[in-house]
Assembly symmetry: D2
Homo-oligomer: 364 residues x 4
């Protein structure tokens, strides 16, 4: 599998650097006959667009999605969908310092170690702009899943020390942090002001809830649905931990508490609790899938930091420019996109799990 390709039957290959000509994605294995327009993609891209509040970078980007292939007369054709977003706001500037020094918390040093040199403009391939391709692909996955009754609710659970206390889904799109709790969002704003005054940055937690997933997705061993989700979400830059259901807290639970008992009512089998977060033995159980991603604070801060140049000189570095004091709100849609890609791929793989259903599919 290509290093920039994700998935097996439904795949996305992304390309592009922060300050190159364009960024994009090729989505392959998308079934034919799905209605798809550039607006469908744009809605998702707009959720990660910067410049939407004072808490995100002032960099202005149109980030307009152009569909170059794979759609004919408004429907997908089954062939690869190529989506491109031109980089329009590439200010010509002097990268002097950054070109030769290793920014703490960034991939500068590791890129140089791996490749021998790097495109230092705006982080190159390791820029947050790389997520444009994922998000565009995720928009298509969500469109497929929506037709099957699978819905996502993804939001910011905490920023720095400020966690949500209540859950009002309708509030999510009403505040700049995508928090389902207005009061928490206001506190988060105050906290971020403080961070910015200190020339510092914050991290946070993103939560993704997925309903309508049929039981049976995922495989029992390496392809466990939670394992695939973990890779998907951990591959988003700045995510340092991923958990499913009760996650880290299961470690101190007892079996009698953690186990989700089953019960039957009117012929339907359900679980009384959902500590497992919708996945048991790596396979979806039909209940809500719950996942959390822990995001580190933006590494670009303008206060002076000790670091070195590529030639080994110890220096003090101040990073000025357009940086989000927190990337969590903009990463919400990216986490959702990665989960959607994973679920879609698992849905397709699952179609050949049973001989009786294959026989029925091919009508024999």
């Amino acid at each position: 599998m290509g290093k920039s390709t994700f998935g097996t039957n439904f795949t996305v290959t992304t390309w592009g650097e922060s300050h190159g000509k364009a960024l994009g994605a090729v989505i392959d294995g998308c079934p034919a006959g799905l209605p798809l327009t550039e607006e469908d993609i744009q809605k998702y891209l707009d959720r990660r667009k910067p410049g939407q509040s004072r808490y995100t970078t002032a960099r202005k980007e149109g980030d307009l999605a152009e569909i170059l292939s794979g759609v004919f007369e408004g429907k997908t054709t089954g062939t690869p969908i190529s989506i491109m977003v031109r980089n329009t706001d590439q200010r010509s500037r002097d990268y002097g310092n950054i070109a030769v020094s290793y920014r703490p918390g960034h991939a500068d040093y590791t890129f140089d170690q791996k490749y021998g040199f790097r495109d230092y403009r705006g982080g190159g391939r390791s820029s947050g702009r790389e997520t444009i391709g994922r998000t565009a692909a995720g928009a298509i996955a969500c469109k497929i899943l929506e037709e099957l009754g699978i819905r996502f609710c993804t939001y910011t659970r905490s920023i720095g020390p400020v966690s949500i206390q209540e859950f009002h889904p309708e509030e999510i799109s009403c505040n700049p942090f995508y928090m389902p709790d207005r009061e928490a969002s206001e506190k988060a704003g105050i906290y971020l002001e403080e961070c910015m005054k200190q020339q510092d940055s914050a991290g946070g937690v993103i939560e993704c809830r997925i309903t309508g997933v049929p039981a049976g997705l995922g495989d029992p061993v390496f392809g466990k649905l939670d394992a695939l989700l973990a890779q998907a979400v951990m591959s988003v830059g700045a995510v340092k931990a991923v958990e499913i259901g009760d996650g880290t807290s299961v470690a101190s639970m007892k079996g009698s508490t953690d186990n989700d008992g089953f019960y039957s009512e009117n012929g339907t089998i359900s679980k009384r609790t959902n500590h497992a977060g919708g996945i048991m033995g790596g396979i979806s159980d039909g209940s809500e899938i719950i996942l959390r991603a822990y995001v580190k604070p933006t590494p670009s801060i303008s206060q002076p930091q000790d670091t070195v140049t590529s030639s080994g000189e110890n220096i003090s570095l101040e990073i000025h420019g357009r940086h989000d004091p927190v990337i969590v709100p903009r990463a919400v849609v990216v986490v959702e996109a990665m989960c959607a890609l994973t679920i879609t791929d698992a849905l397709f793989a699952n179609m050949s799990a049973r001989m009786d259903l294959i026989r029925e599919f091919y009508r024999k």
Copy 2:
């Protein structure tokens, strides 16, 4: 990629059920010329063997590894290494209840939903015995990595509420819990006694530290080293969260604290801290890789639990038999194995990252 296959260039395919004839693994892409014996494998299998203390299942298993192919005159040949472990302790017994009911916290229900029926004997493919194949493969990966100066230190960080307070690596193999802190291990023993009395079970945390990993492993986007490690470790049954470096705690940190500053001394560039856990932008930075897996309590408990039969009858189920009150100690080597497989695969993939090194390799 096969659903039971892990890796790209260095792969393992596992097979086998808890109560089938045998379990095994096929390791492919192992370089030729590695000295390898059945003892090398056995050492790792013994670390996950049950019956080693009163805190693990009394099931007696030889778990003897037999190498069936891929080794000639004591060295690997470059062709697939097939390893088999016969199931020897398959007591003939009555699975009556378990065959038709869904054990809470197990994969019974999801298997039935996915496949239409299941091998109910001992959990079938979802049994902890499935990890035999991974562990055998991990032993080979560790042997390769050892030749390259890469070393693992994997241990139990906590059991239930009992966490280690000190770190004495030499202590790890001296207590039944593989804890690097004798006092903690004693407290863990007391805690587990309590659990067993209550017919209950416990979870815990496993930590894996990897030293000697060269900078440059992993890829910038979907193939981030931490993403691959997350999939690898989350694919171990009962793991519900994975974190790298400071993990979940980065979410409440500030950038100025989380960033690892670089410094140069005698021509060597190092980091002053290692909040990142050895991976930046998805690529290893040469410092210690640190990973933690959060393991849920053993779902098999003997106290009565509410559940249903496959025909939808509400019942109370007591699970008797041979079960570990905690699986953490036995999973330590499995987590290590999965990390070793991941690192080895990343090492091989990285060999074609630079044109100058390819040229040198092929001596042009």
Copy 3:
């Protein structure tokens, strides 16, 4: 993908050397609920078994298939099926000459170049015995395909200069060469007698016809069904050319002759001819798939041949031992197996090609 793994959704991983302890295959992605017994496998292995006529090696091998996993109560469980065949006739012998010299037409030299050394016993991994694993896997694929109405007819089309002139399918299993023409098979016997007298060997052509394949399998670009079949069949040792439909002869045809015209009768669209061999634009068209494999003469011959030792000494080598004067008849089932694996994999991949059918599958 592992180097010894074939397929994407339905995969086989083979392992084992000619004179190792055993050979085998792990079949993954086999749907649950397929009735499967060791006899199903054995029937296919018996078709490639040596010692069935005076024209095949006298080596006696039981080649008994043992199913080690993935089958429960007579049906596949959806988890990996591990099949093993023990090597029972490993005469202890002196490989002296062969161990240090490069047999012309064999992989001895290239193995040494690639791996630095080799298992020289009976060809090691490059032995024809490697095909045991493929054949066992193919037996399972054929069982799946049979349930969907897909049938194979595979036979020897020619041996040396002797080609079939007539086609009587019922004759195929009645002569030692699996030729559908008794007279040709008798002439082939006479030709082979001559070869053996001259201490020489012969090649031939295998033809595989597949009926009942639904239209729509295969993908338009790299995953063309004919491309996948070509890889599958060319990966069988000794095959040096693969063709589909009219194959090589299309190069000198005109478009007006090569094109297969469509016609409609009673609401069914058919083709008047089948020059294309059942595949158009890489996708099956519902008509018979026709493939031919060109097999080189057995490289092991007992007449003296010029060659070198691994230390570079020029020598004359005579290869004595148990060798088939022609491998074509034994390779017939192997070609069928590889085609069956390819078709099965394509069948599963095709299930997610259309949004309307996905919707119907998941009943939304």
Copy 4:
């Protein structure tokens, strides 16, 4: 692996339809530090450009390659290289007939069967224009291989009944058919004139010779180098047979003739003949790799053909428009590209074949 992705470590993903906005390719796994310009790509695209002689379609296409990512300061960065070619000559026209009828020899019928509908404009994804992406990727592969001393010589071996009689490599680029024999090219011209007069088309044979390939590339079983080349080349539209070395003719040879004897001279081991075409047991042997692709006649011919509409009406169809009477000359560079992609991928995979070389690479 994505359906439109080729390769494992060095991959290309192509996208685009004949009459869509653009076509392109994403090349991933390209090592960092390779000098690369748009001119490098353009040189290869120009070799497949139409409108270069009276024997190719009159469609005028700039086919200008634009590199959108993965190159910085004239060198590849190790991240995906996105290449796009805009479709500039999309005449607005009436596809009436073609939109609803199945052209014989084309993929129209199979696309409808697979996807339920199709982009009928100019063949959509099944157009020869799809090869633009492959060719662009092949240009990069060739650049890598050139640095390692690996050279390609690819040419037309025959058109219709006209085969080359002599081999003058310098002649290849001097005639419109890329034949290494001027006299044959003149005869081919006369033959094609005749075809065109008859409103008919011709096929032919392409030969690719690769020198400088180190011994050791390819794997012993499914990943045989010849198997991978067969898939690569058979995936080019219109190719119906692929052969390596003596190819189909080995079937009637005897072992004593087909075997290539080794000899040693001044410490170098060589083969006296090369019937095997440079690959033994699936692994390159260091001698010239020889491959031939058999290409069918252009299916689009203007004489009336019997066919059906998608609603099942029997009709007579005349295909007018811009079509090559033979596609062989334009496919020469495509076959070369596919071979180059395969060899490059095999080169990278081979780097981890031996423990001693891995140790040396990582300098331990």
